[in-house]
């Protein structure tokens, strides 16, 4: 705003004149526009004024209890002190390298996938999608090849959140494809069964589905049948999410013209070859943005496993805030959880956008 007289000066260079014009066109077209800009900027500055001293300037980063923290600043000591528990849950401390190794394998796989121009990408992709989860499960659960078994009730924190998210994603992706094919093939039995499953899962709250799976399912099994709680949760969530994937894929399928099928029939391709070679690649390409959106909501939905008493990242932090030693650190806890989820979800959505662009041009 102090720039006003400068811009009127004819001696001012043209480049900054253009900048001012752009500023004016984007922020100060007329009086009302200017007021809006000032209001928004003022609000933003006020929020920063509230947040920065609390979060950074007056914050305490290390300590053994709430008593060690400054009154008017954030008590990040709560996070740093319990960081190990928030990441690994109750996983035995001597065995945590197994979690790190599994996480590292996934990270390497994903980085390899992200490097443009690397050969054998489909092989790497299949490896990450199908082989790594099995390896990771074995690493985490142990019980053979000299690895001590670690019961799933000791899993928790971010590690549990990511384990649940990846396994639910893998399962529901495949299940979603099956349901979609079932719903769109011409066979009444498959069509009715798939439609029923999809609509049932889409119409119920996830809380109810989880309650049903954990508490009610044993009714339908022979008496005394021991079902692993984590596995049940993962299967229930996968079934739930697969309905959403199926609908996404169906949308992608509908965008494909009839001509493709006719061409395949003309080439003499059967049902499976037609789908595997021609239809599904197009469906997947068409639905990348929707798949990413679904995956983001899937990750956020993993917090609901709190309802069945599993200690995911949100629940373990929430439980930590009840510790008398750290009373009053609720906000810090939620900010930490929020930040972790936000970074994951935001990165995923950006990855999705770049993937979408590369697919469009490629």
């Amino acid at each position: 705003m102090t720039a006003v007289p400068i811009s009127e000066s004819p001696a001012w260079p043209a480049a900054s004149d253009r900048a001012w014009r752009r500023l004016k066109a984007n922020y100060f077209r007329n009086a009302r526009d200017g007021m809006t800009t000032l209001f928004v900027v003022g609000l933003a500055l006020y929020l920063l004024y509230l947040v920065i001293p609390w979060a950074i300037l007056n914050a305490t980063w290390f300590g053994a209890g709430r008593a060690d923290c400054q009154q008017d600043g954030a008590c990040w000591a709560f996070i740093t002190n319990r960081f190990g528990q928030f990441i690994f849950g109750f996983y035995p401390s001597g065995q945590q390298w197994r979690v790190e190794l599994a996480g590292g394998l996934f990270a390497i796989g994903l980085i390899a996938l992200a490097i443009p121009g690397l050969p054998f990408k489909p092989t790497i992709g299949a490896f990450v999608l199908f082989v790594l989860p099995a390896v990771a499960c074995f690493l985490l659960a142990g019980g053979a090849l000299g690895l001590a078994p670690v019961g799933t009730e000791q899993w928790g924190g971010l590690m549990l959140t990511l384990t649940v998210a990846t396994s639910v994603f893998g399962l529901s992706f495949v299940l979603g494809l099956i349901l979609m094919l079932g719903r769109s093939c011409g066979m009444p039995v498959f069509k009715i069964l798939s439609t029923l499953t999809i609509e049932l899962c889409r119409g119920l709250p996830l809380v109810m589905v989880l309650f049903m799976a954990i508490t009610m399912l044993p009714f339908f099994f022979p008496s005394g049948f021991d079902l692993n709680k984590l596995a049940l949760t993962v299967f229930a969530m996968a079934l739930f999410q697969s309905a959403f994937f199926a609908e996404v894929f169906r949308g992608g399928l509908q965008a494909i013209g009839k001509g493709q099928y006719e061409a395949c029939t003309a080439l003499g391709l059967g049902y499976w070859k037609t789908h595997y070679l021609v239809i599904l690649p197009q469906v997947l390409r068409n639905t990348v943005p929707a798949i990413i959106n679904n995956s983001i909501s899937l990750i956020k939905d993993t917090t609901l496993i709190m309802v069945v008493g599993l200690f995911d990242l949100l629940n373990i932090v929430n439980a930590g805030t009840a510790d008398p030693n750290w009373l009053g650190s609720t906000l810090e806890g939620y900010v930490f959880v929020g930040l972790v989820f936000w970074i994951i979800c935001f990165c995923l959505s950006r990855c999705g956008e770049s993937l979408e662009r590369s697919l469009r041009t490629g």
């Binding site: 009610m216 044993p218 008496s223 008493g309």
Partner: protein
């Protein structure tokens, strides 16, 4: 040919899915199922019930409920580590028990007529004679539950507490607003934040909660105890043998205290004791264990693993714990309490 193969595969899958189902379908009884599984599924309070059931930093379970689960595991399977603890919020205890997700709930569940009759559950006995009380901040200046007209009350979802408090306020022509929470932590957080004026639960839970609060002296437990809450391990009304095993496990723990058999002395007493009652209890005389389908020295194993009732109480709730709860009505009848072991003969 491929179509025939596909059909063959479908039929094979069908057979694979059905066979284990049929094979397991006749495992009706709880004891058989536990033996086949090699593990007892025991429902306990979600890991934050100090003194009752807590999960420590090393992933080890502690508490009175936990010890009781271990005692049953020793009796049945001979090994205190063969228990899988299912931490449950109160509202999923009964459904989990009915549906078969757990074998026994050692979690504090009040023995009531409706639950016993209509829900078809069986209580194996009473391990704590409790009653419902209130905890409040000293700051609100209330000395008696009768001053609580118009108060907001935190209470556990689905519990007997929820019914008792409704009766209590109605009978005293008072009003209240319930704030229902699932867990002790949720209710305690609501209480500490001032969302409710008082929190009502069983006295033992409140005493345990108070001991873990940041400033225990700022809180007061009101003198009124408004209900009877007999707490005990509960099983499905399905397998009489299993109910008997749970019932007599609890009973021998109490009997051992009465007879002075404890964790330290039990092995020695098998040989040295001349008391016929002790000899029967420890399997020295008679074939008592076989009558329940257990080993004859099962009581020796149980007591060596967890100690007698008094030791369990003292370690978790009583004088050797942080909570320091008095025995109260849960003392032996010989000490003026209500614990009265049934004759083991």
């Amino acid at each position: 040919m491929t179509e025939f193969k596909k059909m063959g595969l479908a039929l094979l899958a069908w057979a694979l899915l059905i066979t284990p189902g049929i094979a397991l379908a006749d495992q009706g009884s709880t004891v058989k199922a536990i033996s086949a599984r090699g593990e007892l599924l025991c429902g306990v309070t979600t890991g934050k019930g100090t003194g009752f059931s807590t999960l420590d930093d090393k992933g080890v379970w502690n508490g009175m409920e936990v010890d009781f689960c271990r005692a049953i595991a020793v009796a049945l399977l001979g090994d205190a580590s063969k228990v899988k603890f299912a931490p449950l919020e109160f509202k999923s205890v009964i459904a989990s028990l009915q549906s078969g997700a757990i074998d026994v709930a050692a979690r504090q569940v009040t023995w009531t007529f409706t639950r016993d009759s209509e829900f078809n559950l069986d209580w194996a006995g009473i391990y704590l004679y409790d009653g419902q009380a209130f905890i409040a901040s000293k700051a609100i200046g209330v000395d008696s539950a009768l001053d609580l007209n118009g108060a907001t009350v935190c209470v556990t979802s689905g519990s007997t507490n929820e019914l008792n408090i409704s009766d209590y306020f109605r009978s005293h022509e008072m009003k209240f607003v319930p704030i229902v929470g699932d867990s002790i932590e949720q209710n305690a957080a609501n209480l500490e934040a001032g969302r409710c004026d008082v929190y009502t639960n069983d006295l033992s839970t409140l005493v345990s909660l108070k001991s873990t609060m940041a400033k225990p002296d700022n809180w007061v437990i009101l003198p009124e105890v408004i209900s009877k809450e007999p707490l005990g391990p509960v099983v499905r009304q399905e397998d009489p043998q299993f109910s008997d095993i749970v019932r007599w496990t609890l009973n021998v723990l109490i009997a051992a205290e009465e007879l002075g058999v404890n964790k330290e002395s039990v092995i020695q007493m098998v040989e040295t004791s001349n008391n016929p009652e002790v000899q029967r209890l420890l399997g020295k005389s008679g074939e008592m264990g076989a009558k329940l389908g257990l080993a004859n020295d099962w009581v020796v194993k149980v007591i060596s693993a967890v100690g007698n009732y008094g030791e369990i109480f003292d370690r978790n709730l009583g004088k050797d714990s942080l909570i320091k709860m008095p025995r109260g009505a849960s003392a032996l009848w010989t000490n003026g309490g209500l614990l009265y072991p049934l004759p083991y003969r």
